[in-house]
Amino acid sequence: MKIQGKVWKFGNDIDTDVIIPARYLSISDPKILAQHCMEPIRPHFSNFVKNGDIIVAGENFGCGSSREHAPLAIKGCGISVVIAKSFARIFFRNALNIGLWVFEMPELYNLVEEGDTIVIDLKKGFIEHCITKKRYPTPQYPAFLQQIINSGGLISYLLKNIGEK
């Protein structure tokens, strides 16, 4: 799978209340959640995002609440991948569980500007910065997580394994 998208850049410690404020958590439709994504710091963010776009962020992205609405809202905007220096652990689990690609890549943050284009080739395993043409290998998930991803998410993985027991 190849993804090409424009970069939206965010700083450190982007918390889940910023990603999706609690007043919208009685909603579960990703498209409606998307309309409020990043609202406290970038109102109407989803209006500017095109399908496939990429978030690049600093450290501890997704800290705070366990709300799965956060990765759902990001995915609902059309964002295909979040690349951060680091992720808060619950957000990281949630993103993979709902099929939002997340990569920890500390070195990318200072190399890209907002608005740059990035190409990610998941099959060949590289990330290319379109201005400098620099290529970086995509970080590898541990074998255990790869099994979950390759099964098509956590629930499919579990159902498959229950079946085999």
Partner: protein, 422 residues
């Protein structure tokens, strides 16, 4: 090499003699929890997977506590979905109304948490239960759907960081200040993916509610869980709430800690976390008059009975400043009833406070006590992110219950000394 308490609990639940930090395991879950925000997504995921069976109807807990009494049609529909699911699968533990309260105060009160067990919850503050010597951590809704199906969860074994507290606390210093001190020092990702193990003579003398408060907020430093070895105080607490025999684990003498921090608590002032991060910590004595519009007492962090007692002690015979709205949320109905029978509610109302039903409401800007543009609140809750309690241009300051109470009287954030209490 020996193991830490967290490593021992994970090993015991993943059929292993030994586990080491960084390893991935499938662990058996003793209790799985979701609330009215996270359970609807869990249930939808469960149905979408065409799953039909749950692993154990006695080990699933639903608590309706965030948007209750329901604030709008969506939240009412969500609660209905949970009730119907609970009925269909004959789930024993569904809590709401007078049988309910804020989940992390409620589950210990109901005797559902015991030392040595492994608890997974779709709420980040599930880590509260580490105070009882259990391994407890927060995950999202899909993870909970997975546990409901299989009774197991994948975990990466965390490294353990040790924090030792010694010395006697100063006046008006509580568990809340100890954890704020840690978050202020190590930062909001200072314990990223780690366990924080708390010990030392101060902890050994700390009440259960203060221990709960400390473990509750480890997530604010990025930790996976917090843990306090069960001791006499834990045993005494458990005797009141549950009859089952727990397993008490201790750190091995040669257990490995990735980092050790020691604190002399006699040097810690009552602290306040300034907007917009729990790590922006400052001594209350260093603050210039920060005027507040609202004061909130409650939540899974500081809505315990002991917290209400502190607030009542400060408010007795006093009036809330006319420019301040003081909202008090007992964390559970049991706590509410006890506060009522001991006369605390009367003190609150006489002082001019609004006493609200047990709910998470204002802590997360859910409902009840939402801040308008430019408004400022001091709160005993756990987070002060941008827009946490309402408008993105409002501000939340975090403090212990004593500081919150004296601030309600003063009209600005200040310690009880400022209203003449020693």
């Amino acid at each position: 090499m020996g193991m830490t308490i967290t490593e021992k609990i994970i090993a015991a639940h993943s059929r292993r003699k030994k586990v080491s930090p960084g390893e991935f395991v499938m662990a058996k879950v003793d209790l799985v929890l979701a609330n009215d925000i996270t359970a609807p997504l869990t249930i939808k995921e469960f149905y979408a997977a065409k799953a039909k069976k749950i692993f154990n109807r006695n080990k699933i807990v639903f608590v309706l506590d965030h948007y209750v009494p329901n604030k709008d049609i969506n939240s009412a529909e969500n609660c209905r979905l949970i009730r119907e699911f609970a009925q269909k699968y004959r789930i024993t533990n569904l809590f709401e109304g007078c049988n309910g309260g804020v989940e992390h105060a409620l589950l210990p009160e109901k005797g559902l948490i015991k030392p040595g067990t492994l608890i997974i919850g779709a709420d980040s503050h599930t880590c509260t239960y580490g105070a009882l010597g259990a391994f407890a951590t927060g995950v999202g809704s899909t993870d909970v759907a997975g546990v409901m199906l299989t009774g197991e969860i994948w975990l990466k074994v965390p490294e353990t960081m040790r924090i030792i507290f010694y010395g006697k606390k100063r006046r008006w210093v509580y568990g809340k200040d100890l954890i704020l001190k840690i978050i202020g020092d190590i930062g909001v990702d200072g314990a990223h993916y780690k366990t924080i193990d708390f010990s030392g003579e101060t902890i050994e003398n700390l009440s259960m509610p203060e221990r709960f408060t400390i473990c509750n907020m480890v997530i604010e430093s990025g930790a996976k869980n917090g843990i306090i070895a069960a001791d006499e105080i834990t045993r005494t607490y458990l005797k009141k709430v549950c009859r089952r025999t727990p397993i008490y684990y201790k750190n091995d003498p040669d257990a490995h800690f990735c980092r050790v921090l020691e604190y002399d608590v006699s040097k810690i002032d009552p602290l306040v976390a300034l907007p917009h991060s729990p790590q922006n910590v400052q001594s209350v004595y260093e603050l210039n008059r920060i005027y507040v519009d609202q004061v909130v007492v409650g939540s899974c962090t500081n809505g315990w009975f002991e917290d209400l007692r502190i607030v009542a002690k400060i408010l007795k015979g006093k009036k809330v400043n006319k420019n301040v709205r003081l909202l008090i949320f007992p964390a559970t109905y049991q706590i509410y009833k006890k506060a009522l029978s001991e006369g605390l509610i009367q003190i609150f109302i006489d002082a001019g406070a609004v006493v609200c039903p047990p709910t998470c409401g204002p802590c997360l800007g859910g409902h009840l006590g939402i801040l308008a543009k430019g408004e400022r609140a001091v709160s005993t809750t756990n987070r002060n992110f941008i827009g946490r309690m309402g408008h993105p241009e409002s501000e939340v300051y975090l403090s212990n219950p004593a500081i919150a109470a004296s601030s309600a009287v003063l009209g600005w954030i200040g310690p009880p000394e400022e209203i003449g209490l020693k």
